[in-house]
Amino acid sequence: MKRVFAGLLAVAFGVVLLLGISASTGLFSYNEELLDDSAASHYIAKDVNGDTGEIIFGETMDAETGSANMVTSVIANYRSFDTLGEVTVLFLAALGVSLLAGSMDKGRKRRKSGFILKVSSGILFPLMLVTGIYIFTHGHLTPGGGFPGGSMIASSFLLLYLADENFRANVRGFKIAEGIAGTLYVVLGIIGLLAGGYFLINFLPTGVVGNLFSGGIIPIVYVIIGLKVGSEITGIITDMFNEEVKA
């Protein structure tokens, strides 16, 4: 009975969704091109503050953001204030997890991990750590950025947890790193406010599009986000693991 009712409700919701969406956009086709004056086309051409001509990879100097990856330029420059709020939401979630999990009593249950896992984790851990750092330092040139890079760092710590039952990350160190990264983000915004008149304005020279040292504050912001996300998710994993040992 419950399942029938749930199925009917879900199907009704789907029909409403279909009707509403097919009225405005095609269900089996995609857009042919972006709208002419939409925000997205301005973000692609990097001409929000006025037309500057075509951006050429490896040639254009001092473009508006200087980031070859347009998603990065949206996250860390045009909508950077959004990202600050988003990182705060993640911080609140991690805080809630550690508050709720910390009140449970912790015990230890011996759990043997396999020989292969133990040996290979020693080889894989530095590789994963370096890959994560590479991903968030090259966020303005290649796919990736602070969020996947930080998560990859957290995954490398997860590997250590799985390999060694007695391993515990230095939670206090991660909390300090997370706090410093969050403060630096706000401080960077306030420096922009003093230097350029807007919170989180890109006040550094942006360089040649496509170089490693380009994009003004974008690489700095992404390194900060990477460290913050990495330490937050490592904290979440540590809390879940402490609980899992006891349960």
Partner: protein, 84 residues
């Protein structure tokens, strides 16, 4: 009918099939593993729709970390907890 349409149709069918398996399976562990597989299907959908940033993020978070926190939650349950 070009390659894009064929791949698109294949990924769509797999998405719906894996999602149904994840929601309808009776055991919690099976359900969670199918959720991980659905995440991998979503990665291929994102890559097909030329969104490499999102694909990398979903591959790291959806398939790795989400699966871990789910499995860590049900790992020490007995048989009684695993039924629907």
């Amino acid at each position: 009918m070009n390659w894009f349409n064929i791949l698109e149709a294949g990924v769509s069918v797999l998405l719906v099939a894996v999602a149904l398996a994840a929601v309808l399976s009776k055991k919690l562990l099976v359900s969670i593993i199918f959720l991980s597989a659905l995440s991998m299907m979503a990665v291929s959908a994102f890559a097909l729709l030329s969104a490499p940033d999102v694909a990398v993020t979903e591959a790291v978070i959806g398939s790795g970390l989400v699966t871990f926190i789910f499995v860590a939650s049900i790992r020490n349950l007995g048989k009684a907890g695993e039924k629907l």
